[in-house]
Amino acid sequence: MSDERKNDNPYRHIPARGFWRSAVAEPGLFGFSDLWKSAWTLPKDAVFATFGSCFAQHISRALMTRKMNWLNAEPAPGRTPPDLAKRYNYGVFSARTGNIYTAAQLLIWARLASGERGAESVELWTDGDGRVHDMLRPKIEPQGFESVEEARASLLSTARAFARCITEADVFVFTLGLTEGWVNTRSGHSYSICPGTGVGTFDAEVHAFRNYTYPEIMRDLDLALEIMWRMNPGLRVLLTVSPVPLVATASGEHVLVATQYSKSVLRAVAGDMARSHDAVDYFPSYEIIAAPPTRAAFFEPNMRGIAQDGVDLVMRHFFAGLDLSAPAHGPDRTSATESESEAEMAREDLVCEEMILEKFNDA
């Protein structure tokens, strides 16, 4: 056996990106390369839908800023001023779901979108002013809904938009945010925030804390994706984990310890899910922000908020790793409705103008 063969081992064939010194220590934080490479070759005009915890909205914004094909299946009504759209949570995610923090909530949305569950399965709460709030999106309307009927109609409208995201997107980007959540022990309803924290009334007899475990999250995510793939077998799912720490924990642990547990479990679920499904990939936004080489440089002084520079770096790696070399789908149809309506309004204007001028001339 030659010396060369004797000294051979798998690490001799690993590229530079596989070694800490050449991939991290030497290039430094802003020199990382090949951090992520998309598992798929996507169409040039690939359609992205984005959902999940609050960090997911950065992905929505970055896709919009780059004028990429971000699917906004539930936009605000036409000509809604940006401030009003923001106040009513339009344009944050691809449908008006609000934050989807847990896999359990993603499963609820998948069931609503597929029709497996109806709007009546979602708990509603009426505040002291008689305004109605749905407990899946408790802050979606700044002042709640006028009635139970309106709340349910709005919820189903969002479920239809969520269904469009499943059936029309090429890539469904989902950011896992939390392991901790609250459930109704009688109905099994999963809340997006603890009842009593702004919306709802806390009842210790009914409301129970859950720190979802790896197997539970894996099961819920599996069930949700199963439904989504039944609706669109070609859907690709890109998982990310939010680097934003917990604002508080009800686990009894120190919030730092609880955060690390939560993120570790979510990271493990996302990684294993990506390894076991060709249609699932993992994008390392969590690592870019929270791994030791950043020295927490991208956290705001409260060590929780993420600075825009960090978001920008995450998105640079995201876009650098995308492969958009497949043929495009073709032109978008949505703008046609607007231009047809504009033309119709212009025709009506002309009629009105002519009527007025004729009247004025007569006078």
Partner: protein
């Protein structure tokens, strides 16, 4: 001769003026298009109400001032009827560009996107704030009645947004007359014989019917 009635508004107010002519009511009018009303081409200043940057409107205003010998035409104390604030042809279609429907109890909600009533109210309030302020100021100096456009067709969101504009004007203390109450007590839309060939605007006869109904309710008296 001093007019008995002043009419101010968009193309829908033409039927009111023609109706007044049919009824022999001495009326003077100032009309400019709904899109110019929507685009805020008017103001209310020291000389009262004024069209701004609307050639036909400015000319009509000048002619009215000369004829009546006053600057603040709409502040003379003569009753004013107006379509100010609606201009639905500019407000409603964009609302539906993305397939939105304002939630309305009892109406189907199983397709398209549903916008809450509160959202629609905020949307309307943003686009109609100056109109409502102007109506309130006009109402201080004359008996003002805003006449809602009679429903000419059944298209999404028209009825809901028409109702929201009405409620916001009323909440500001402005009197609103809805011709539906007298002309269409069982609901529906105007019959073809009361509509112009464009299918949108009411005829002079319809305008006369509206004025008669308003007179019976005491809405035209000074």
């Amino acid at each position: 001769m001093t007019p008995e009635l002043l009419i101010l508004g968009d193309s829908h107010s033409i039927a009111l003026k023609e109706g007044a002519d049919l009824l022999g009511i001495r009326a003077e009018a100032l009309h400019f298009s709904g899109s110019q009303w929507h685009d805020l081409k008017f103001s209310y200043g020291t000389h009262g109400f004024e069209p701004r940057g609307v050639r036909a409107g400015v000319q009509q205003m000048r002619a009215l001032r000369e004829k009546l010998g006053v600057t603040d035409v709409f502040g003379m104390g003569i009753p004013v009827i107006s379509t100010l604030g609606f201009h639905l042809g500019r407000l409603v279609p964009p609302f539906g560009w993305n397939d939105h429907r304002v939630f309305e109890p009892g109406k189907p909600t199983d397709s398209g996107l549903i916008a809450s009533t509160r959202f629609a109210e905020d949307y309307v309030a943003l686009y109609r704030a100056r109109h409502i302020r102007t109506a309130r100021r006009l109402a201080r100096n004359a008996k003002l009645v805003i006449v809602a456009p009679p429903p000419a067709f059944d298209r999404p969101n028209y009825d809901a947004i028409r109702g929201i504009v009405t409620r916001q004007l009323q909440a500001a203390g402005v009197t609103v007359y809805d011709p539906k109450d007298d002309l269409l007590p069982k609901g529906g839309t105007l019959p073809a014989e009361l509509l112009m060939p464009d299918g949108v605007h009411a005829t002079a006869e319809c305008g006369a019917m509206i004025l008669q109904a308003m007179a019976e309710r005491g809405l035209l008296a000074a």
